[in-house]
Symmetry: D2
């Protein structure tokens, strides 16, 4: 059985590209514009969580669950189109990143610490 | 056959969570901190494309391909952890978003236009 | 006596513009690029404060004081150039904003609350 | 004659702090929250300029002048409060920054170039 469309990054990218091409929007979707879009949408997600104190975060995140989901969907849209434009295999890049980050932050040194690897 | 790990969002989320839990980092990964992380990483991606004029964008994007890929990998890491914390099925949310956006931007009205749906 | 240069917004803008024009950088400093610059620099400032928990914030802000100052200086540079390009009198716009915000958030309703005005 | 209030950074900071203290908002205005606020507001400013092509930027910036001014006012509010919290003299930091940047980007090497100083 093929990977279900809804869990396959490649299938979702294909959907995103189809949506874009039907509207002839590729001309606006330069890498730079998509990067702008990503930072704008990420800012909107963060805005939902602004001003609240740490002890209220869990409650606020729950109350605003639907809004946060929608913003994360917008962010993911930009990520998919960027992956397409940059011809990036998101899964591969991510797993490669995880490996490198694991080398910078070995479990024994980084466990329970928020410090940057240069400060470990 | 199961979806290949590298293309399955759920499998990648499982990897991200495993990586985090080995380092006991869940305590730092509140929804708010992950949203901060997302906006910071998105800013780094955009920074790579700063100052260049439109006619140089394609060349710059090509030259900086590796850096851009790495930054997109960082962004995707935050997206995966956010999806986990918010218990969001990224694919479902994305496809739902696509449907709604399609209603706001019908092909015949939005084709070739950068205008916001409120200005169509 | 004229306002001291170091406290006068107009004098600082004049310095910023002079610096730019000596380098023939106006061609890169479109409003859009300056807005990109602003969001990138703001992201760098936020990055210095990432991951730390609320109870450690005061200590971290103190330790990173110099880095935070430098990032705020970068942000302010973009703000000054944007004010110049948009022909905005920063002080006037700010005082106008304060007046409007004060109407949205009257003292008696907003005192001690982090809620948005639409939720008061 | 004293610097007019509307052009004096220190006078504007005093106004911002007064506004905040009347509402008992200092408790929410940690350095981290103000940095979040800054990045969120900068994102909103950038959003106004999203998707348009370079040749349309001047027209769009003109059409959206009022919205851009208002967003810049929001950004400046965060900058003023951050300067207060970090006990930064904005003018001094900016002039120091300008000096250092001038050393990294000497006029003869950087004139007309968008390159980073590490690439000059």
């Amino acid at each position: 059985m093929a990977p279900s469309n809804v869990d396959s990054i490649r299938a979702l990218i294909a959907q995103a590209v189809l949506f874009r091409d039907e509207r002839d929007w590729a001309q606006f979707h330069t890498v730079k514009e998509l990067a702008i879009s990503l930072v704008v949408e990420a800012g909107e997600l963060l805005q939902e969580l602004q001003w609240y104190k740490e002890e209220d975060q869990a409650r606020v995140a729950a109350e605003k669950g639907e809004a946060l989901k929608a913003e994360l969907g917008d962010v993911f849209f930009s990520v998919l189109l960027l992956a397409h434009e940059l011809q990036v295999d998101l899964g591969e890049v991510f797993l490669g990143k995880l490996k490198k980050t694991g080398e910078k932050y070995p479990v024994d040194k980084s466990k329970g610490s928020p410090r940057k690897y240069t400060e470990l």
